[in-house]
Symmetry: C2
DNA sequence: TGACAAATTTGGAACGTTCCAATTATTAAG
DNA sequence: CTTAATAATTGGAACGTTCCAAATTTGTCA
């Protein structure tokens, strides 16, 4: 029907004003008369006008687009999905739109995705880096003045803001809790050893052991993929040991669920026959049977905080790199054996 | 340091050619001499050039951007996360970039998100519609010639392509399988009754009952939220019945997991004391204990197909709406009681 | 060497918006 | 009724790219 797309000029013609006036209306400027404003608005509705942000960005070199990019390393892990949801909440209410991409731990894909986002003129980036990411990978971004917030995995040496959870405090608290229940052989299961997160959680594990007056036995840390399957694998190896552990703090909830699966496959009941504690507090943690005792990170609020920090930097124009570690809280449920099984404590 | 951003003109100057030539290089045109091409390329590297897609789109009115939008209704459901991953795979290898957003079942948010995507000039849209979405909501999109592929939930009356799984065939097969194991009272648990998907799966359930020569008892269909918590709730009501069922096909895997949880909370073992079959085949289905018998939809391949269909339409310029329903396959594991528990059938 | 074809390169003129300075319409004050 | 102030509107000129037609260089063949 109509040839090209509808532009401000078409609107201007239809409303009997100039394109400048239409532009003013578009930006909600107070300079324009109420009568003309509504005239223009109805013309836009009538012609089915769509704003061309590309053209707008072109002109206002500084104001940037209203996109903020989010890059995660594993979207199939519900932790990251929820993180993204948290980001989306605050980003959306600030009138921005989220541009989410998944790297599947591929550093090449990460490079591509970030480059593509730059081309589209994102005004900020929230990223959970893929595994082998280096600090220098973000150099060009910060050089270009694009605020970056790194989440979940810290990136030592990078001059960007970061939000990580208190991994060390979390596992430390978990170990102390298990010790207070009488366990003396407590394992640390799952996770790849070459990540900063692993190191931190392991350090907390050792710290908790010390606080509880228990010795550290290297044999009790068993690494594996940080997934459900990895958990099955790890608990298998733990149980095969001569002097087997009676409890475990796991690298994350996925591993913890796998550990529960593995226990059941060997006719042991998690909570009763073996205590397990997770890390993350994904949604399934509370509805699972037995409900998972875990260190609660609340990915959604982490996402919200990351988004807030990023927006602050975007608005400030040029903010200092800020490093925050979010507090973490041990949520005692059933899988650790601290019997407190009550059905329907609160409304579902 | 440098004032504005680096543009083709800066590159041209540095390389001693004209901006047109730089543009040619950018597009990989065969017209340009090898020597000049590399000269230009190194100039770009040196000055840290970033392509401004906004400006490019402005000029080439037709060619559109290289963004394809993906809108899902619940990112925290891993089914959709995996769907998105599938889309990303093919979209990425075609040189497009994915722009993923979540509506959380909010139809308003869906409108906003789609509007925003249009402003950014997406060249195609894949959407799993929020719950109350109407066919007319996509009218403006198709009128503007933007290809749309609806996935998961069909949208009767909309003139857009769609990819849905064979819901009816799936539940039908599930019921027949349970009947072949000797069950005669088979429930249908979970799901909101006001969705097309529910209707289809329910129809398949009834069809399966008929094929197996069993009668349909309305009392045995118990709806609930399509979530883990909803499953717990539904099985609770099923068990409270006088003439209780001995098996259930569930609206989806999340519900099925909830059903398993609910059974255990009542000291019944899924698979042994009660047969449960899910729908979707999310990744956890195979690692869970007991492994979930379920109708496999493979969200990832569904995502891939959706992306392929969309790309086809984008390339064709103006393709007909195509409605495909993807085949579905009953995967028999442990939760239905058909004992075939073998550990380590294949490599993990 | 001259003429012609092929291979490369190149200045504008768009694209749809915002910004600026300048113009015109309206109101208030004298 | 004039003048000044204020409110509202308006034409270009950008922004960074691609496209087109035209210009230039290079190569080929007699």
């Amino acid at each position: 029907m109509t040839k090209g797309r509808v532009t401000v000029i078409d609107i201007a013609q239809a409303a009997g004003v100039s394109k400048s006036t239409v532009s003013l209306v578009l930006q909600g400027s107070p300079l324009v008369n109420e009568a003309t404003r509504s005239k223009v608005n109805s013309a836009m509705r009538e012609l089915g006008y769509v704003y061309n942000r590309g053209a707008a960005n072109l002109r206002q070199a500084s104001a940037k687009s209203k996109i903020i990019g989010v890059v995660v390393n594993d979207l199939t892990n519900s932790f990251f999905a929820e993180l993204a949801v948290g980001v989306d909440m605050v980003v959306q209410s600030a009138g921005f739109v989220q541009f989410l991409s998944n790297t599947s731990e591929s550093i090449d894909r990460q490079r591509e995705v970030i480059a593509s986002m730059r081309e589209h003129g994102i005004s900020g980036l929230i990223v959970s880096p893929a595994r082998a990411t280096e600090a220098v990978d973000f150099k060009p971004l910060v050089a270009a003045g694009i605020p970056v917030v790194v989440v979940v995995r810290s990136l030592p040496g990078a001059k960007v803001s970061s939000i990580v959870s208190d991994n060390e405090g979390g596992t430390s608290a978990a170990v102390e809790h298990l010790a207070s229940l009488g366990h003396t052989r407590i394992a640390f299961l799952g996770g790849f050893t070459d990540t900063a997160v692993f190191e931190e959680r392991l350090a907390g594990y050792i710290d908790g052991l010390n606080r509880a007056g228990l010795g550290f036995d290297e044999e009790l840390v068993i690494s594996s993929a940080p997934s459900r399957a990895g958990g099955v694998d790890a608990i298998g190896r733990a149980i095969a040991m001569g002097n087997r552990p009676t409890a475990a703090v796991c690298f994350n909830d996925a591993v913890a669920f796998g550990v529960c699966d593995g226990l059941r496959a060997r006719h042991m009941e998690p909570g009763r026959d073996f205590a397990v504690v997770g890390f993350d507090d994904v949604i399934e943690a509370q509805t699972a049977v037995p409900a998972l005792t875990t260190v609660s990170v609340d990915p959604q609020s982490m996402g919200r905080r990351a988004a807030q920090l990023l927006l602050k930097q975007i608005n400030a124009g040029r903010a200092e790199a800020e490093n925050v570690t979010t507090a973490v809280r041990l949520v005692v449920r059933e899988s650790c054996g601290a019997a407190q099984k009550k059905i329907g404590r609160k409304m579902a």
